[in-house]
Symmetry: C2
Subunit: 408 residues, 2 copies
Amino acid sequence: MAKPLPRSPLAPAGFPDLPTIKGVRFATAAAGVKYQDRTDVMLAVLDPGTTVSGVFTRSKTRSAPVRDCQEKLGADPSASAAILVNSGNSNAFTGHHGQTSVAEIVAAVSGITGAPAGRVFTASTGVIGEPLPHDRIVAKIAELNDGLNADALEAAAAAIMTTDTFAKGAGATVTIDGQTVNIAGIAKGSGMIAPDMATMLVYIFTDAKVEQSALQAQLAKICDRTFNCITVDSDTSTSDSLMLCATGASGVDATGNPEFEQALEGVMLDLAHQVVRDGEGATKFVEIQVTGAESDADAKTHGLAIANSPLVKTAIAGEDPNWGRVVMAIGKSGAAADRDLLSISFGDVLVAEKGWVAPSYKEEDGAAQMKQDEITIKVDLGLGDGAATVWTCDLTHQYITINADYRS
Amino acid sequence: MAKPLPRSPLAPAGFPDLPTIKGVRFATAAAGVKYQDRTDVMLAVLDPGTTVSGVFTRSKTRSAPVRDCQEKLGADPSASAAILVNSGNSNAFTGHHGQTSVAEIVAAVSGITGAPAGRVFTASTGVIGEPLPHDRIVAKIAELNDGLNADALEAAAAAIMTTDTFAKGAGATVTIDGQTVNIAGIAKGSGMIAPDMATMLVYIFTDAKVEQSALQAQLAKICDRTFNCITVDSDTSTSDSLMLCATGASGVDATGNPEFEQALEGVMLDLAHQVVRDGEGATKFVEIQVTGAESDADAKTHGLAIANSPLVKTAIAGEDPNWGRVVMAIGKSGAAADRDLLSISFGDVLVAEKGWVAPSYKEEDGAAQMKQDEITIKVDLGLGDGAATVWTCDLTHQYITINADYRS
């Protein structure tokens, strides 16, 4: 990548103030994996008793670190734990060398932090198919361990960026039975580092106490409504990783607590939206609300078909209220639809209903909706009670420039 | 669309010389459906005894003419038949008005040509969601009927174009038991007419005699290996139609004849490739050969995942031998894959094998392959005997310009 991209026009004003999560400390360092003059490794060390959950890419060609993390989920939470993330090299499609790199890093982190190897999780994001210079990372672990600090989440968010145009964080505080529980998380994506795809990494921490298998189930459930409902360009990274760690340091058991779940979903949705807002070349943030489907799954299928359609995404880029392309995407999705029961709105403007353009629709009203930075497309299938909301961005010249014009 | 697009750099030198198909005649006219100063309707009249087969879009929001054609397949072939196609308006998502337009056109064609209404097929391509001005078409049918001519296929190919940059035709001649059988076909797509999607229409004629249900089965089978193996941008039109008509005028029964099938597949593949070569903004013609999959279906799933990946398509546009994106697309396709058994070649250059870059691979060799106009990507999954080949084009700035910058 020749030069840093400008900050996304859809980015929030700045990094948020996040609550301190007792039981986890962070440190960052510049290991020179690929980038110069910036931090590129992040270490998080979690106190004994922290429960750990994670969801990962379903890619059949997923990276060595992802495979290693998947094997370690469910390890006894009584010991301490650690997470080590590097940017600049994804350690994906690096053959047996990939496993070796993971093993070397895990052994070093375990040796220095004292966390058992079975509780050391790693992730790598960046160039694909090049051996990870893991010795540069290993050489920094003692320095990282010495620098651990409870209030370093923003620095951690910056260290895991690749070509993200802004650091992403979100947090929440909940009161349960009069006691305070905190949640804070960071994410990176969908910046791009040639010749790789946009990897999404997300780490969320809470001082709530949640039993490990309950935490895993909760993460998977909320992920389906948040991170699994966003798409930038339909491509799936070999390295996508999302981990949620509950240190329990607040002493408050939040297992099954609805306020905690709601706050956690808020943090995950906020981070997911920030990933879309940093979508490559994005100039519009698009929410697609699908209702009236035969099932929630059908609604999501329709929503993602619309969100992934190049013709819909280019129409949005061109501020063109091109509802015909929305009809097309619904038709091709494979989920149930009936042309004559379908209605489509852009924001509050009813565009089409009963198999045709709405009698009240004026092209200038649709065009005014499309001029906004944040666009809502509403589709009611008129078939049942299934509903889903998905989020995406537009497809612009800048996407082509980022992915085609800059050579690796 | 502001002005005509330049002829695709991937277009053939000119329209081919096609054999005359006895038993079918063509005429074109300028009805002014939307375009000015060009032909926009095509009538084909088929002699009694012609068997008719067709495959159509699977879109749930398919157009009124498509629904009408689907109902009529299988009609008794003893009477004459007719096909009427207009460009400029797709008559899709036009509510009950759509059915009315089809009925009016079918009645007029039937009345003037003498073909029974149940054997009159129509298609429309162009703007979506606007009522079809069918009276302009109806007013031209007598003129069309008077002008029917056996040697007017090139004119027919031109009349059905929307923003195609060249007229598409292909033909073949086969000798069966010492007798000559001819095949000739025309196609349009993937030009674009705002605010519509790229519709593909294909009409193929032969003077062979083929029993109607056998013709339908043969068409569907070959379509799976040809038109169902091409993709420009993964979006599916509401109007895609492919019809194959066998007049039997040669007197030669070609039912089940392997030479006939091979020649027909050649014509269909040629037309399918021409559609890709006219893909919006295309500068590269890409063949993706997948072998070693667990099944042919898996191979096609992998091939289409690669062909539809925006990251693969933009890398090709940028002449970047970015095999990491091919690995990514295989990983996300959902079909079986094993990173350590996979090998990838660009043309004859082995790029990756055994889960990593090939030891023999040099970046400049891959880059040289990418500089060509026609690129072959070979993937061997190393799992079984499943194979498939698919074709696509690259994703360029011009695609964005065509679909975003020109407003409806």
